[in-house]
């Protein structure tokens, strides 16, 4: 079973994402900001991270930069999942190493196809 770490400061978004991911047979853990996510990744590397942009303590971009600096056995796939829908944000995220990008709002089909694209399912 694959693992997904859902990183979002919104409890509602985490719940929606969890619901969809579990229906795709993916095990879900949650983090409420980038720092929390980084700590969790250091303890156990998930297969994929679903990452919000704006969060208190540490943003999605900061998380991504920290992640690429951190030494790890394996690297999780990172799917940005954010209301920042402008092409500038998308380009910046891809340049920073994001594997995929989902614009909110999203649905099951979208998430499923993005997980297929990054090879998690």
């Amino acid at each position: 079973m694959k693992n997904c770490l859902v990183v979002d400061d919104s409890k509602v978004i985490r719940k929606v994402a969890r619901h969809i991911l579990e229906s795709l047979d993916i095990k879900v853990t949650e983090a409420c900001d980038g720092r929390d996510a980084l700590n969790q990744c250091e303890a156990a590397i998930p297969d994929v991270v679903l990452l919000d942009w704006n969060m208190p303590v540490m943003s999605g971009m900061e998380f991504l930069q920290e992640l690429s600096r951190t030494k790890m056995d394996a690297r999780p796939k990172v799917i940005f999942c954010t209301t920042e829908n402008g092409i500038g944000h998308i380009k910046a995220a891809v340049e920073a190493g994001a594997d995929e990008y989902v614009m909110k709002p999203f649905d099951r089909d979208t998430l499923e196809s993005k997980l297929q694209i990054v090879g998690v399912i």
Partner: protein
């Protein structure tokens, strides 16, 4: 592949107008509506009713019967067709095309002409996905003449396909972010496909039951998720048409849940490429009805 709706159950409760509209759709397109979709005819046609200031389906039907105005008929047909599609639908199929089947065509065709037909292309995602797969391998196709014909019976679907404009929801389904960045630009809330891709494809309104837009032989035909709700006879007829527009060794790709088995002898499962069918040599059998198996 049975045709839902072909054997009505509690269809006695359908109104006359519902039956006439379902009948019109089948006569024009071959599509047989399932019972649950017949129940939703009114919902599907709400926008058409509103646009024409009509109160109900009965009024619409009498207008349809009285007038020769084909715009109204087109609007009704467009609204009743299922245009469900997405970029890179069934990703494995597009991977297989990119990795195996297209390279095989490029090494086997001396004339350096590649002809592809997307039959039932809906709003264009399938044809654009193909074009992207070809452009990804641009070196291989250097000096080739590549023709992609994409046809659909829905005038609305074809004009959307031609516009190259897709909503945020459309571009998120199946399209990798790098392909979005490479091939699209934002226009308001939508995304517009690049002219470079658009120039590769000719979109035409055409009915598979009596195709006019297609001519000659295609090396590859995609006819995916179009014939699911056709009667067996119609499906056999369409397979013959597809066979007439291909040569021995051409490939046919159907939707993930579709098969040629029991429908035609003109195509057989390809041994080399999973999920694709190869045009057989025995052309003399093409127009003979095939016995129903299941």
């Amino acid at each position: 592949m049975s045709a839902p709706g072909a054997t009505p159950g509690n269809s006695a409760a359908f109104t006359g107008a519902m039956r006439i509209l379902a009948g019109l759709l089948e006569a024009r397109t071959g599509q047989i509506l399932s019972e649950s979709r017949i129940w939703r005819i009114e919902t599907a046609l709400k926008p058409v009713l509103r646009m024409n200031g009509m109160a109900n389906l009965e009024e619409l039907v009498s207008q349809l019967l009285a007038s020769t105005e084909s715009n109204l008929t087109d609007d009704v047909i467009n609204a009743l067709l299922n245009n469900e599609t997405s970029f890179f639908r069934d990703l494995q199929t597009f991977d297989m095309l990119y990795r195996d089947l297209l390279p095989q065509l490029s090494s086997s065709k001396q004339d350096k002409v590649l002809r592809i037909w997307c039959a039932g292309c809906s709003t264009g995602q399938e044809a654009y996905s193909l074009a992207m797969q070809l452009r990804k391998d641009a070196g291989r196709w250097q000096g080739w003449r590549i023709q992609i014909l994409a046809t659909d019976i829905s005038t609305a679907a074809i004009s959307r396909a031609q516009s190259g404009l897709f909503s945020q929801i459309d571009v998120q389904r199946g399209l990798a972010i790098n392909d979005l960045l490479r091939w699209f630009e934002p226009v308001g809330d939508d995304w517009k496909v690049s002219d470079e891709l658009r120039r590769m494809i000719e979109f035409r309104v055409d009915n598979l039951l009596e195709p006019k837009a297609s001519s000659g032989d295609y090396d590859l035909i995609l006819c995916r998720n179009v014939m699911l709700y056709f009667s067996l006879e119609r499906r056999q007829k369409v397979f013959s048409r597809l066979a007439e527009h291909s040569r021995q060794g051409s490939y046919l790709i159907l939707g993930a849940g579709e098969t040629v088995i029991g429908q035609t002898d003109a195509f057989a499962a390809s041994r080399s490429f999973r999920g694709s069918y190869e045009r057989s040599a025995k052309t003399e059998k093409i127009n003979q009805p095939v016995r129903k198996t299941a």
